[in-house]
């Protein structure tokens, strides 16, 4: 497929700087509490922290003992406590309890709280009343290695709740990247939160002292994509390798725990999945079906490499041992891990009718056999198969069909409550509010709430309010958008997954991810011209801004580097699709997101857990 004249994608800028920067910031904050201290770390910050620092660095800066937040505090003799936490109310109560207990027993200590990614109002308002000696708190944010994703698991929920608390974090991340690799020549975006983040970032930028002057820009353009614009893609089952690994084992902050069934031993192993893993980096973006062949090819090669040693004389052997053996061993270890992972994935997927489910999913995307898919979902619910999967399929049905037919909605909801518990009544309300799972209304009239609110307020504000309602729960118009953008590839015969022709390969050739298609179109057109109809269907909030001086200043290479920012989460399938696009068009995509997400995470965020 070596297309003639295809440009090679430019190299990505050096993101090691971000890592060093985060580490230095952390050290700076630690040293603000001089002397020996105990460090309390919140569980979900440990993985990101591992990415930038290790124990010896902490020790160098006089961290004495490490504790996990929420285990009962050990009777520590240290005079200083430092907390590294997420800005959560629960955590602040925990800290307040420690402080108060010390106060009661007349123990005097110094405390310091470091928030990641930043201090939040609710978190600081609570306990501030109970601690007279609480020291200053500071913000610290952690970009994680090459993929440049930060891990804000709650961000999606929060954005969906119509709460803008994380927008500042996004804006600041943009500010940082802009100061290091910018200025960006062009900025595009779509979605309400995308626009807000952009505006806030520009606002922050206005005041900064123009750090970027005279530097060579390394990133040509940025695209801000709001998850709200495209839920469909996030709800699909993933079939590229990295996506499958995420769906099956959950990748956390770039690393995954492979259990005994993968490692074929009694231990589980934590594996860092990134470009340094020579096996993984070659299969991560591939469709699962191509992975087997590749792995077997690889293992044959490996065997041949080892076999070469048979005919060697002493000198050659010495060379072999000193130069190649280590690399081969490493490769061997990785190969057996990924083969184990593939086996485990296959085992799990065959057990749960994956094939049938994918079929139903594809019919939903294409919009035929809706009745059949509906009864498939119904049966899925009746058999009490995974509640999250059932919910996901219902949402997919709802978004692609602009809501469920009232009769179906009622019957599916009733059966769902019967199968998985009546308290999910609350889950259905959450989903309805966001617009992920709705009932088709008769005609195009406003909902009762909307019209009532509109009546209550003055004309001036009315526009704004319906606006807010629209973006929280609006019609998805998926079918029309899909037709306009050609998201369902029409083709004769089978889709050749080993020679992908477009981004649809990430969903077995059945669907081009909407989010990625929008990015493709806008980059191609250098703006939104000609996409007016699609924008109307997507409910707008788009922007396109160019900075001509920055654009002229950028080298041709840098202009082909695109920073894709996903607000509210990005899936590995989307990353794979855009990487594919980059290869085709000779540009390099860099990803920044509030969290890596997948269908299960989206659904869990909406689901009311059993107490």
């Amino acid at each position: 497929m070596a297309a003639a004249g295809r440009r090679d994608a430019p190299e990505a800028p050096d993101f090691g700087i971000l890592k060093r920067l985060a580490r230095d910031q952390l050290i700076y904050l630690l040293e603000q509490l001089p002397g020996k201290k105990d460090l309390f770390i919140e569980a979900d910050l440990m993985s990101p922290l591992d990415r930038i620092a290790n124990v010896s660095i902490l020790k160098q800066h006089e961290v004495d003992k490490l504790y996990k937040v929420e285990t009962r505090p050990a009777p520590s003799a240290s005079d200083q406590f430092c907390f590294l936490v997420r800005p959560r109310i629960r955590t602040m109560r925990y800290i307040a309890d420690i402080v108060n207990a010390d106060k009661m027993s007349g123990r005097s200590r110094k405390y310091k709280i470091i928030f990641s990614p930043q201090k939040m109002s609710p978190a600081t308002s609570g306990p501030s009343t109970c601690s007279p000696w609480m020291r200053t708190s500071s913000a610290w944010s952690c970009p994680s290695s090459s993929a440049t994703t930060s891990c804000l698991p709650r961000a999606l929920v929060v954005l969906q709740e119509g709460d803008h608390r994380w927008i500042n974090s996004v804006a600041r991340a943009l500010q940082l990247l802009n100061s290091l690799y910018g200025p960006f020549g062009r900025a595009y975006g779509i979605g309400r939160c995308a626009k807000m983040s952009y505006e806030l970032w520009r606002d922050l930028e206005e005041e900064s002292e123009g750090d970027g002057q005279g530097r060579k820009p390394e990133i040509g353009s940025i695209f801000l994509m709001d998850r709200d614009t495209d839920y469909v893609t996030a709800l699909c089952s993933q079939v590229v390798y990295e996506g499958l690994v995420d769906d099956t084992f959950r990748i956390k902050c770039g690393s995954v725990d492979f259990g005994p069934d993968v490692t074929s031993s009694d231990k589980s192993i934590k594996v860092l999945l990134n470009a340094q893993d020579k096996v993984f980096s070659q299969i991560r973006n591939e469709h699962f079906s191509s992975v087997f062949g590749f792995l077997s090819q690889k293992s044959r090669n490996l065997q041949a490499q080892y076999d070469r040693r048979r005919g060697m004389d002493i000198k050659q052997m010495k060379n072999f041992v000193s130069q190649e053996l280590k690399g081969l061993k490493q490769e061997h270890r990785l190969l057996s891990l990924h083969i184990g992972a593939c086996e485990s994935i296959m085992k799990k997927k065959t057990k749960q009718d994956f094939q049938e489910m994918i079929k139903a999913e594809h019919s939903l995307l294409e919009g035929f056999d809706i009745r059949e898919s509906t009864s498939f979902i119904e049966e899925h619910i009746d058999r009490q198969v995974s509640p999250i999967e059932s919910l996901r399929l219902m949402c997919l049905l709802s978004i692609t069909e602009n809501g469920l037919v009232p009769k179906d909605y009622r019957s599916l909801k009733t059966q769902y409550l019967q199968s998985y518990g009546p308290e999910h009544l609350l889950t259905f309300h959450n989903l309805k509010r966001i617009g992920l799972l709705t009932e088709q209304a008769a005609g195009e009239t406003l909902t009762a709430v909307e019209s009532r609110v509109s009546k209550l307020v003055t004309d001036r504000a009315a526009g704004k309010i319906t606006d807010a309602f629209n973006s929280l729960a609006r019609k998805s118009n998926f079918r029309a958008i899909s037709k306009k953008l050609g998201l369902i590839p029409r083709l004769d015969g089978e889709y050749d997954l080993k020679m992908p022709r477009d981004m649809a390969y990430v969903f077995s050739g059945a669907y081009v991810p909407l989010s990625c298609k929008i990015i493709e179109q806008v980059l191609e057109r250098r703006g939104w011209q000609g996409l007016e109809e699609v924008l109307r269907l997507l409910n707008g909030h788009e922007f396109s801004v160019s900075d001509s001086t920055a654009e002229d200043g950028a080298a041709a290479e840098a202009q082909r580097v695109v920073l894709a920012v996903f607000l509210g989460g990005c899936t590995f399938s989307e990353i794979a699709a855009l990487r594919f696009l980059g290869k085709e068009r000779g540009c390099k995509f860099i990803f920044l997101t509030t969290a890596i997400t997948n269908s299960a995470r989206v659904m869990e965020a909406m689901s009311e857990a059993r107490a």
Binding site: H61, S121, D382
Partner: protein
């Protein structure tokens, strides 16, 4: 290296295309197995001294990682006092094994502990180092920050300062007018964090009615306050707000949500009873009613069955002791339970499946699926048979199912039903292809043979001969069919 790359490219592009299915029969999996064998066979050569690659502790964390170290702290603090000292020492000695990361960029070298060697370059040295860009803009404190406490900022400036994480006193906004301007500025600035901070201030300094009234026309701010109240668990204020806004359904839901925090079942039941009257939609009211009835039912069943189980008189409880209590389980689980333990009970008892079916209007499909799974688990094949047998008016019996028979087969198979039982349902699968594939998969030879015979497919039938045992009745049957001159084979 580039050669290897070319090899891969070639591989990716040259390999033959075949449609891929997630099906374990597929060749792809055998390919995977082969590669696994190949890799495993290499293990002997490789497994001598892997340790220098990465040291991994028993829990699987790489040694020296922070998560690993925390686990160490936990386990050491759990051990006795004397033990702790030694384990700590052990811990610290293992850190020494790691190379210290010192780069010219790293500020870590600058901030070393004081008792370390003093020979270090100073901060200014490091920053003026030509190779180093100023990567840490946030570390500089702008002079402006010292002026923070002179507080004459306009609402707009206040919001901007807060967005940049600077301290700002809100107390000087005294009049309602000022406060509202401040709130509007915060909303216009998009930073939810600032919006929430302002709301906390307003909540503290404004009368409720006024706050509510003003928020009603400020939807974005309202969303933030509702979110904040949910987060902090200020249920009472939240309910007041929702009532003020006339969002009755949300009030009801919010109250209903509280039941999740009630652990005691009796109290929970009482609470749910109170929820029935709340202003839900008609549809939801019936769900709440069902929830209450279900829990009520479960409490009765639980009390009875616990007694039965303890007394040891009931055979089924002796043979299959209950693994968990039925309390707070979903309806379908309850139905499964009652099909398992109380299948034959008369409709009059609370625990009988038919009673549950009637009370909760469980659809046929769901009922059959659940009953089938429960009876198959007990290997009560007679009950399974009865579940699908219907008599027509002439007295003929016929097998009918509200679900596809392929589904029935699958459930039976998962419960290790014998071939004779499976066979009976496999041949009821309507779609010929599905029937054939199921029959082949589960070795229901008779069904396969009959189907090929019906299809008049001599080739397939001949080929199937090698799948049955030599000299078995099946082989004989195949032979006799093949020798049957009356069949007009299509091939």
């Amino acid at each position: 290296m580039s050669r290897a790359r070319a090899d891969e490219e070639e591989y990716w592009h040259s390999s033959k295309f075949r449609a891929f299915t997630f099906d374990d029969e597929d060749d792809e999996l055998s390919q995977l197995k082969e590669s696994k064998q190949a890799v495993n066979s290499l293990r002997d050569i490789v497994d001598d001294d892997d340790d220098d690659l990465e040291r991994v502790s028993w829990s699987g964390e790489p040694v020296g990682s922070i998560s690993w170290s925390i686990k160490e702290t936990v386990s050491s603090s759990a051990s006795s006092l004397e033990g702790r000292d030694s384990s700590l020492q052990k811990g610290s000695s293992s850190y020494a094994a790691f190379p210290k990361q010192v780069s010219s960029y790293s500020l870590s070298s600058l901030f070393r502990g004081r008792n370390k060697l003093p020979s270090f370059q100073s901060l200014s040295d490091a920053l003026s180092d030509t190779g180093v860009k100023n990567y840490a803009p946030e570390l500089r404190r702008p002079k402006a920050e010292y002026k923070d406490y002179s507080n004459d900022w306009s609402p707009k400036d206040t919001v901007r300062r807060m967005q940049r994480g600077k301290v700002c006193s809100l107390e000087r906004f005294r009049s309602l007018q000022d406060k509202l301007v401040l709130l509007d500025e915060a909303v216009a600035g998009h930073d939810g964090n600032v919006i929430t901070a302002v709301l906390i201030f307003l909540k503290r300094t404004l009368r409720r009615e006024i706050l509510f009234r003003e928020l009603e026309v400020r939807q974005v701010a309202l969303c933030h306050l509702i979110h904040f109240l949910k987060e902090t668990g200020e249920q009472k204020l939240l309910l007041d707000l929702l009532r003020f806004l006339d969002r009755t359904e949300e009030v009801a839901l919010s109250q209903y949500r509280e039941h999740l925090n009630i652990q005691d079942v009796e109290k929970r039941r009482e609470f749910l009873k109170g929820c029935i009257g709340l202003p839900f939609s008609a549809e939801d009211t019936s769900h709440i009613q069902d929830h209450y009835t279900l829990l009520e039912r479960q409490i009765i069943i639980e009390a009875n069955d616990r007694h039965l189980e303890m007394s040891g008189q009931s055979e089924i409880f002796r043979k299959y002791p209950r693994k968990a209590s039925i309390l707070n389980m979903p309806l379908v689980t309850t139905l499964f339970y009652s099909c398992f333990y109380h299948y034959t009970e008369a409709e009059g008892t609370f625990s009988s499946p038919t009673n549950l079916k009637k009370t909760f209007k469980i659809p046929d499909k769901q009922y059959v699926l659940t009953a089938l799974a429960a009876r198959a688990k007990l290997r009560a094949w007679g009950d399974v048979d009865a579940l699908f047998t219907t008599k027509n008016w002439l007295g003929y019996t016929k097998k009918k199912a509200p679900i596809g028979f392929h589904r029935v087969v699958e459930i039976l198979q998962r419960n290790n039903a014998p071939v004779q039982v499976l066979q009976e349902y496999v041949c009821l699968v309507e779609d010929v292809e599905t029937r054939l594939s199921l029959a082949t998969k589960y070795k229901c030879h008779d069904v396969v043979i009959e189907t090929y015979k019906d299809l008049k497919d001599r080739i397939q039938l001949t080929a199937y001969k090698c799948k049955v045992e030599r000299g078995s009745a099946e082989e004989e049957k195949i032979n006799s069919i093949l020798n049957n001159m009356q069949i007009r084979w299509k091939n």
